[in-house]
Symmetry: C2
Subunit: 375 residues, 2 copies
Amino acid sequence: MLPDDARIISVDDHVIEHPRVWLDRLPAKYQDRAPRIIRLEDGNDAWLYDGERSGNFALNAVAGKHPRDFGMDPRSYSDMRDGCHDVEARLKDMDIEGTWAQMCFPNMGGFAGSTFWRSKDKELAAACITAYNDFILDEWCAFNPERQIPLCMVPFWDVPAAVKEAERVAAKGAKSITFLEAPHRLGLPSYHTDHWDPLLKVCEEAELPLSVHFGSGGAPAGTAEDGDMFITIALFGLNSMMAMVDLLMSPVFYKFPTLKFVLAEGGIGWIPYLLERTDYSWERHRYWCKINAEQRPSELFDDHIFGCFVSDQTGLNERYQIGVNNILFESDYPHSDCNWPHTRKVLAEQLRDVPDDEARLIVEGNARRIFNFPG
Amino acid sequence: MLPDDARIISVDDHVIEHPRVWLDRLPAKYQDRAPRIIRLEDGNDAWLYDGERSGNFALNAVAGKHPRDFGMDPRSYSDMRDGCHDVEARLKDMDIEGTWAQMCFPNMGGFAGSTFWRSKDKELAAACITAYNDFILDEWCAFNPERQIPLCMVPFWDVPAAVKEAERVAAKGAKSITFLEAPHRLGLPSYHTDHWDPLLKVCEEAELPLSVHFGSGGAPAGTAEDGDMFITIALFGLNSMMAMVDLLMSPVFYKFPTLKFVLAEGGIGWIPYLLERTDYSWERHRYWCKINAEQRPSELFDDHIFGCFVSDQTGLNERYQIGVNNILFESDYPHSDCNWPHTRKVLAEQLRDVPDDEARLIVEGNARRIFNFPG
């Protein structure tokens, strides 16, 4: 059962950046091209950044709406809960849903800063990342450091610059770096190369787990025409599956034996199957494939990879096969997977057959340990 | 436990076509371009078809080899067990591994005949498919119809021709059609269109389940450089996951209420997670996505989709969440996943906690019912 005094920590929520995040922070020379909100003719809001319109809110800001009102149209700030973009209102919404602390991914910036990676002017892009990090550290999380866990971006297209930014935000109190689940799918070097080593080294030394959100390695697995968006949503977990196997087969955890990856929004119910399958394949193919032939993938998993769930009874039933220490909760506020305002109630139902000490780890203890966020 | 008298039926094995499959059957005008075996300079064998060298045996013909000897080099017929290509020897190998009956996918032809789909001369390609079907029906399976279940291809690039061939092989005793898990990934119309309806109608009427082998919808989920082949092998199941969600969200099962799909070599341990996830997503997105909003995906699954496993303790532990009636066994002989000669022993270990009546269904009864193959 979920104990009444357990303080739920969600490790995957989302901030809808308010319109002045970048305008307030970018140097004067970038003001003209700073990300800003424009009002469209239909009355909705959209981001304009370096001449390009990017993204909309839609399913990313639906907390409190009935699924009948879900859709892909852009929305305006006035059509979403204040908690999406206002940290004071956010904490009140967390009180309503029954969560104590949370870690937020960026929205306009992309899960790992990929919006800026795509922009042509990489100097401006790096400045935008610094500005976002200062926003999340100095404004959003500083409002109540006991209840907001800082997750920062790095300019991943430039490893020395990414190292510098990781060191800077670590010194300012960041608890995790949002990174790419599959860099090779963006045309960047894979985890099987040495390319990322300087950054991974800094993250290991500063005890910063890498939070890799599904979709941060490019488009999720798409399928066919009608119902395509739905199919993509149901298949979110496949990206995390690919990331898990790719990382377990890479040299990363041999080079960085205390580095941790957190797979956000991929679910957990598939983990026992995929660990069994990966071990099975490893038994057969370790001799001829260029992979580490000594340590069983499922053993590597225990120390290095952590799964997250919004709602996943299958995974909770199989928690001993996953490892009770490897499971984290996520609310996903204000995205369409979240159960706000019933977050705590839905979670308690899922934990009804889980012993109290295990439930405490899953909803709070693991997050405090993994993200070095003591209560 | 696996009862001693249970006759194991494997629904996913593979025939290595012998060198005369097409030479013996194609009309004289195609003899020059018929698929034939050529001896390479290094002493290995390879197929030559319509001027192109295609495929090799490698991991597809390793039954009985130690994993230390696995690899991607081509091999020769003399470097594989006779059971790969000789049905009499095959039955002896089945006796050794302890299986009673099996259904074989093509090798040179591709899982669903895709080798022929890629060839330029589609008239020759269709003739090759007819020849293969006659081989599998009249030669391979006719040798012992109680122990070989005929699985046939259709020229899927031409729906009227595919309908005709499905009718022809059904009349000759075919029990299943090998088809595409994701036609849209080959650039063909998806299951969300009406394109395939005439073929699906014939399959439904003739009680021919569609056997869709992972990889029949194009390349499996690839990843990065080193260890790439291993990662692909560990991720085989992802193709079946995509196919399952795609089919459940398509109109196919509403149009053809008794049609069945068998997902070969995708494993089963992920099914409870993905059904839960698909239902969860459907609850939220059925209002605005173009999908059927009435029937829960997991309910549709029960009557229409069947999972297969070589070795999957996770899935067997979760069998009630999958449905004991929806699980089929596969040996995968002579591919690299198979446990020959220990097939029955490995299976019995996996079934040690499964009640006898359920074990009987999983290893034999379900296959007999689904493929209309009475004992």
